[in-house]
Symmetry: C2
Subunit: 122 residues, 2 copies
């Protein structure tokens, strides 16, 4: 646990939803002025491998999300960009996939796009 990493973790913790690499970089540099971009990428990759962060790569500038470890999916608001986690999960049952396609499922990714409560209210 080094100062750059600490600065990054704190900057991530402060973020409400998704963030871009440069946003995070700018933010973390307030704690640790000498921080390099390469370190941001390296640390994000590290966090990603530990399930603490996820990368949403859909068109445009890629955004990262803070995640809690454990199985969950994301609700992405198309209007304001906020991202929420949900533990609701439903995918085609493995057995059915296996029977119909001869395919053994091992993992899945589910992202749900729509409009969040706050945007609906507005």
């Amino acid at each position: 646990m080094t100062p750059p990493r600490r600065a990054l973790l704190e900057a991530i913790a402060r973020r409400p939803g998704g963030f871009t690499v440069v946003e995070l970089y700018d933010d973390a540099r307030r704690d640790h002025a000498g921080l390099g971009l390469a370190t941001v990428y390296r640390t994000l990759e590290l966090l990603r491998r530990h399930g603490l962060v996820r990368r949403l790569a859909g068109g445009g500038t890629p955004t990262y999300l803070r995640c809690h470890p454990g199985h969950h999916h994301h609700l992405v608001c198309l209007s304001c960009g906020a991202v929420e986690e949900t533990d609701l999960c439903a995918v085609p049952p493995s057995a059915e996939v296996r029977r119909r396609h001869g395919f053994r499922s091992e993992a899945h990714e589910v992202d749900i796009y729509g409009t969040c409560g706050r945007c609906l209210a507005a």
Copy 2:
């Protein structure tokens, strides 16, 4: 319908599973030597808007998939990279998402990773 587009469509039709932009470019250039990369990107974007192709952006070089229009998801083999479509679909029901999170679902993306029948046999 122009010669570059025809060459691209044929190259896509020949592909078994996912492909990268450069693979497609090289392949289509065998039909249409003067093809430019910009045209490949433009045409893929066009096909994507028509639901004939999808982009999987997970880490590394982005890959495109040939798709049939209509709702379906993909079974991606982690061992050989083959991609199969499935019309099996189950996601958390909108009503439940709405009730629990105040979030109105509009679309979802589901990709299932695992091992395909051929790789299981081998």
